[in-house]
Symmetry: C2
Subunit: 465 residues, 2 copies
């Protein structure tokens, strides 16, 4: 083992030297830098790479990866570090490719409702850029993540119930493969039956099959009318059942977010808001003025049937942004509830018919576990989050949290749901992926080995090799 | 070569004998049967398999594939034989697995808006089954194809502009792999970030990676209101530009189909209709009564701006069905134009901004080529068909048709479009797939070899091994 370790170190050192010759100051081995780039926003500790290479072009990425391939050195792509399952941790060391400086919007094809971006462009940056075009990019995971990272983790968020996830909104990718070859996965046509769907294979592959260096995304016209509303319910069940009926009736809500009483309380404290502390839905409607009115009336009537209060409306953009910012800050609000600020954010997603039962059983389990764990979620998709407030230095509390977490995931799987709706696998959910997919994980492994035979692309994530 | 051929024959014979022991009368080697199962609806000649195995269960498929794997014998899955690029032809002989008898709707999850079906269920059969549930399955490639075949070719059709293609509407698959292992690609949750997107990998793989034996599909509530309209235009350009603006404005039309004058004339003759012989749009609007009215008014006003006539409306279901049946019979109407009834139906798909230019250049090229080739298409997606009426026994005519076809595909590729929007690659478009994807075809080949190392699954389709 020691000889092998020495060999690894030698190989990595040779690779890093060659990259240094190529990139100069843009290659850093400073420990503070490596520490930062080995850490995401989760509780997972930093697993620093041996070097961080800041790249400017697809060609540079291809060169760096080709060098790493020759020296069997791991490659980890990095966008904004907002992942939640340890995706950027350098489990085996190696070279982090920092894509943050590849942050140009390359081409807006307004007539085709699409845009080509570099992977370091963040979602807010893109929408600022688009401001004068009448178009927007809806996918919104909360954090101002890079579009490369969002593609790599198949991100979604509050708007997915209406606009889909990254799966539905990526049209084409440029990808650097594990040996440095560069491919484009698709043309810009809206649909194609030409061969295997490589675009969808790389969306959600978390950097384990290649490094994404260019992304073509779908855009949407900014709706004529947008209205947001808040509605409180006496019980969590009532709120969830209102969501289920809304979805089953096919109302095209743009957002329908659930927050439980604990989460509302945390938000009020953190964001200085005064929402009633009760199970609550945050809603948004997009469309023509008439269609927004019609949708809102229907959902208000469903809410009344489930003992919901009157909608509290926000139509002016500033108020709407404030309300959604409070929603997006939910995780930070949870963090602020604990003096040490440690949270463990996790998510599952179930068929909508199972949502009420899955959430209410989980809520009972939280109470029985004597833990603080707000529930918040993109419930229109059947997707919800548990934000576990855990002191990772308290073994008993940690053990209770792990047990609660495992029961929640296994509950979702038993309801034909998935172990993660949007956070991905990283290395935090490897065992749950196995529980969910069984033999299909071996198919994923075959694909991984076919495209990355030396296991250098973000090794240890999604599949064990 | 001869020794090799003999070996193939021996291996195939051994495999067929073992399958015969297992299936009895459900394994046929009769030449008339084999002839039928080696042929799709295209001009491609029948390439008969050595045997046709009619299966009843996933387990039987797994057994047949395992036997074929042991004897390195090709396996070709067959649904209804409505493919258009030679997908069911047994290029290297082998065993055809006929899935037509696996035609049960297994479970309607009305609350989750999904359904689980066997692959032999056809789209019309499914919608008949769903009749009393208030739900429907929209994807509609014209032919009453099997849902297994539609999944395997990533089919779409007239409704895709609103509801997406099979890519967006398959939630999960059960697949028998090349060695007989059985996997399920996904749970039933609407979204997931759990590992590689195997569902999307098998959708569109044309039987080259495995045999699909169970499909979970999305369903939709039947809209409150549905209205269809027909609108004629003085020129093809006017009609196409009306479509482009409709799409760019984000109007959620359910169907927006283009038919040129030649196609309209063929339809009138075949279906006994009396549509004006001119470039024409067939439209359909779905939604609430108010929303349908609003959409229709907007599109009518766009049509007027492009010199379109008044909408001729059909709201009663029987009239609507008649109109859409005429549209679906377009290919048969084209066939009827020729005494020998031979057609060559092909399709491309381009970004919507390129559609007018691509269609008008193609139209000019048809005229210059002195061929009869109606244009018809799902133009809301940028997708259109050319139905070449060609006497395949006339070398000069065939050569002109091939040249026209190649120019059309290369024109679409040069506009960042795809060589097929919905018909797939089969073996008819192998070279165009290469022209479209370049190096990415090698990635497809790597995946193919990883999942099917002996190249027994529908060999010779999509990628050459």
């Amino acid at each position: 083992m020691k000889a092998q370790a020495a060999t690894d170190t030698d190989r990595y050192r040779d690779a890093i030297q060659r990259i240094k010759q190529r990139l100069g100051d843009r290659l850093s081995t400073a420990s503070a830098v490596c520490e930062k780039y080995g850490k995401d926003e989760s509780f997972h500790p930093s697993l620093p790479p041996d070097a961080v290479a800041t790249v400017h072009t697809t060609e540079e990425v291809a060169e760096v990866v080709a060098i790493c391939a020759q020296h069997h050195t791991p490659v980890i792509a990095y966008g904004t570090g907002t992942a939640l399952e340890g995706q950027v941790g350098a489990l085996n060391g190696g070279v982090c490719i920092n894509l943050a400086a590849m942050n140009e919007v390359l081409r807006v094809n307004a007539e085709d409702l699409d845009v080509v971006v570099q992977p370091g462009v963040t979602r807010k940056q893109l929408n600022t850029y688009l401001r004068d075009t009448g178009l927007f990019f809806p996918i919104d995971p909360g954090a101002d993540a890079s579009l490369g990272g969002m593609t790599a983790t198949r991100a979604s968020g509050t708007n997915a119930v209406r606009y889909g996830t990254m799966r539905e909104n990526v049209l084409a990718l440029t990808v650097v493969l594990a040996d440095g070859r560069v491919i484009r996965t698709s043309k810009r046509a809206r649909k194609s039956a030409a061969g295997y769907d490589l675009t969808r294979l790389f969306v959600g592959s978390e950097g384990t099959l290649g490094v994404i260096t260019e992304i073509t995304l779908r855009l949407y016209g900014i709706p004529e009318a947008m209205s947001s509303a808040v509605c409180s319910f006496p019980t969590l069940d009532d709120a969830v059942n209102c969501v289920i009926l809304t979805i089953q009736m096919g109302i095209p809500v743009a957002r329908i977010e659930l927050l439980d009483d604990v989460q509302l309380d945390a938000i009020n404290r953190y964001s200085g808001t005064d929402f009633p502390v009760a199970p609550t839905l945050f809603l948004e409607f997009h469309g023509s003025t008439a269609s927004v009115r019609e949708q809102a009336e229907t959902v208000q009537s469903i809410a009344h049937d489930h003992s919901g209060g009157d909608f509290s409306w926000t139509t002016d953009p500033e108020q709407r942004n404030k309300m959604w910012q409070a929603r997006h800050d939910a995780a930070y609000a949870c963090k602020a509830l604990r003096p040490d600020g440690q949270i463990w954010a996790t998510d599952v997603c179930v068929p909508i018919s199972q949502l009420a039962e899955c959430i209410s059983e989980t809520k009972r389990d939280i109470d029985a576990s004597q833990l603080v764990a707000p529930i918040v979620g993109h419930v229109g998709d059947g997707n919800f989050h548990l934000v576990l407030l855990v002191d990772h230095d308290d073994p008993d509390e940690l053990q209770r949290a792990q047990a609660l977490h495992e029961r929640m995931v296994m509950r979702a799987l038993s309801m034909d749901g998935t172990c993660t709706g949007e956070h991905g696998i990283g290395y935090g959910k490897l065992d749950f992926l196995q529980a969910e997919h069984g033999e299909a994980v071996n198919v994923m492994r075959s694909i991984k080995l076919a495209l990355d035979p030396h296991n250098i692309m973000n090794p240890g994530k999604i599949v064990r090799v």
